[in-house]
């Protein structure tokens, strides 16, 4: 009887496409909005995720998240290096500086200063140039989108100059850094040079990057550092989550996105479930005839479930493809970079759509099973 179920489903093309569209729309709405939210939160941790060499971050006890750093005295680095289990520890500067191109183009930039000797803290993806060239005088690495801000329409080229705090900076490399929360250009340079680009402060040590010995986990090391120095220390992952939670608790972003996502889920659920249910109601007379002829309830239930599953699977496929396509085609837009399809969200959306399909099928099956076949005689 399954071919009968499929014929019933596809016979009215407009109705069939309507069902598919409804599920696809719901899938797109839920997965796209949830992915935008997740991507936005991920963007808040871009500078943390770009550091792949170190696994422990040490900061002043009064810091709240990566964008609100209170500098530490230089002695903090010595203290951290002296703790058992620390394989190495290096400085990291993070601050904002004003950069100006020769044509007067002005931008506030996120400036990261990495350890002069080891260059620990640099993102590993170079678009142009090589890591060692950061040792050159006045050398900075600029992220590729920052390059496009300062030098619009120009091909990537090394040697271009910027002015930072009245000092010359030469682009010695172009990197592919993760998109920051605010789309400021990101500059990487040596720690010593970063300090000259920043305004003078008594303490300048923003952060310390540390790495544990082989037999020590990042979490264990972070605990030790905190206990010995009273500084805040945490693993990269914990540090990223601290930043995310700061935004969750202190901005209206989660509430507003949460409302949109909940509305999306509600609208998606109600519309998709109702459409599937109404489709069965439209065919009740046919089910009654089949029932009268001698088709068992279990077979009718399977037919309804098959119809819903086919619509759910195809609709989800289209919706997911639409969501992936949206992020694929917008990935190179400067203000939308870093927004990606989160496959965990697609998985969750698939599970939700499955629940909707099963729920709608259950309601439909209830109607079909409870249907009096005698209605065919009326």
């Amino acid at each position: 009887m399954f071919f009968v179920a499929l014929r019933m489903l596809t016979f009215d093309t407009a109705k069939y496409l309507g069902l598919i569209f409804t599920v696809a729309f719901s899938t797109f709405l839920i997965s796209q909005q949830a992915s935008v939210f997740a991507s936005l939160m991920t963007r808040t941790t871009s500078q943390i995720r770009d550091v792949s060499d170190a696994s422990v971050w040490v900061a002043h006890p009064e810091h709240r998240y990566i964008d609100e750093i209170k500098p530490m005295p230089e002695s903090a680095l010595t203290e951290v290096r002296g703790i058992e289990g620390v394989k190495w520890a290096v400085r990291l500067y993070r601050g904002l500086s004003r950069a100006k191109a020769a044509d007067g183009t002005f931008r506030t930039c996120i400036t990261m200063g990495v350890d002069d000797a080891t260059l620990v803290g640099l993102p590993r993806k170079m678009v142009l140039g090589n890591v060692e060239s950061l040792h050159l005088p006045d050398a900075i690495f600029l992220d590729r989108f920052g390059y496009s801000y300062f030098f619009p329409g120009q091909d990537f080229k090394l040697g271009a100059e910027l002015e930072l705090n009245d000092r010359r900076a030469r682009v010695a490399g172009i990197i592919d850094s993760s998109a920051p929360f605010v789309t400021f250009p990101v500059i990487y340079t040596r720690y010593s040079l970063a300090l000259t680009y920043a305004g003078q402060e008594r303490n300048t040590l923003s952060l310390i990057l540390a790495h544990p010995e082989d037999d020590v986990t990042p979490e264990e090391l972070a605990t030790r550092i905190h206990e010995k120095t009273s500084l805040t220390a945490m693993s990269s992952e914990a540090f990223a989550w601290q930043t995310i939670w700061f935004y969750v608790k202190n901005t209206g972003i989660p509430v507003n996105f949460g409302v949109i996502i909940v509305v999306g889920i509600l609208v998606g659920t109600v519309v998709a479930a109702q459409t599937l249910y109404l489709f069965t109601l439209d065919n009740l007379k046919q089910y009654a005839a089949l029932k009268a002829i001698g088709v068992k309830n279990s077979v009718l239930a399977s037919m309804v479930l098959l119809q819903s599953s086919v619509v759910g699977a195809i609709g989800f496929g289209f919706g997911a493809a639409l969501c992936v396509s949206f992020f694929f085609f917008t990935k190179d837009m400067p203000h939308l970079r870093g927004f990606i399809t989160h496959y965990e969200i697609l998985g969750g959306t698939a599970a939700l759509m499955a629940v909707i399909v099963i729920g709608a099928s259950a309601l439909s099956v209830q109607r079909v099973v409870g249907l009096e076949p005698a209605t065919v005689f009326r």
Binding site: V4, Q286, L290, I293, G294, V295, E372, A374, V376, F377
Partner: protein
């Protein structure tokens, strides 16, 4: 045991609703439908004909009384036994044909066999043969909406008969047809469905087809008011 009646209905009552507002659709109906006959159930609208037909088919439970079909009490069966019994032994022809609009004529006629899990190709082949015998060899692949009323009813007849049921139950099978088509359908019914081990029960208003009946049961206000035995009448005349 020599069973002569395909259907025996004894003292069947059917009430819709309860208490003082209950509607008594059937008030102690008694009929017997012998094998090898066409029995017509006639009477004004609302007299309980279709309710009685639904009860005989096992689609509606009586409030009281006994219904024996092929010598079995269908309401003593479990739901699944009832469905199985219906699928094997009963064929239905509805007033509105109730063909599935998405299936071809041959596939529609095969639905009863498909419900019995007969292989799709075999089922459609057998249904096609049934349709050919009803003069629809040119319409096997046609959808119901492209068929005339008479052709659709012939597809319904094929669907009702293709699994060779012993009893065919019809609800106003000619009501939507012109006189010629109605007679053609009834001639087919007479030729195919009426055999010694089979019986046909038809609910109808259509006096044009009364000639085909071996027995006419008159109903009024939920009661059987008269039973005309046309075979006996034919013999005595």
């Amino acid at each position: 045991m020599n069973v002569t009646n395909a259907i025996e209905v004894t003292g069947v009552e059917k009430h819709f609703g309860a208490g003082a507002s209950a509607a008594r659709a059937l008030r102690g109906a008694n009929i017997r439908v012998p094998f090898g006959s066409i029995t017509m159930l006639v009477g004004p609208s609302g007299c309980g004909k279709t309710t009685l037909l639904s009860i005989i088919a096992g689609l509606l439970k009586p409030t009281s009384g006994n219904v024996s079909v092929l010598d079995r009490d269908i309401f003593a069966m479990s739901d699944s036994e009832q469905v199985e019994f219906r699928r094997k032994n009963l064929g239905f022809i509805f007033q509105q044909y109730n063909l599935l609009p998405s299936l071809s004529a041959a596939e529609n006629a095969a639905v009863g066999l498909l419900a019995a899990q007969v292989d799709r190709r075999i089922a459609v082949k057998r249904a096609s043969e049934a349709l050919k015998s009803l003069g629809l060899e040119q319409k096997l692949d046609s959808l119901p909406r492209t068929l005339s009323g008479g052709q659709q009813q012939r597809v319904a007849v094929a669907r009702a008969l293709v699994h060779e049921p012993r009893i065919v139950l019809c609800d106003e099978p000619t009501a939507a047809l012109d006189g010629k088509s109605g007679r053609a359908v009834m001639e087919m019914m007479s030729a195919i469905a009426v055999r010694d081990d089979r019986a046909v029960l038809i609910v109808t208003h259509d006096s044009r087809i009364f000639d085909f009946a071996h027995q006419i049961v008159h109903m009024e206000d939920g009661q059987i008011t008269q039973i005309e035995d046309r075979r006996a009448a034919a013999i005595s005349n």
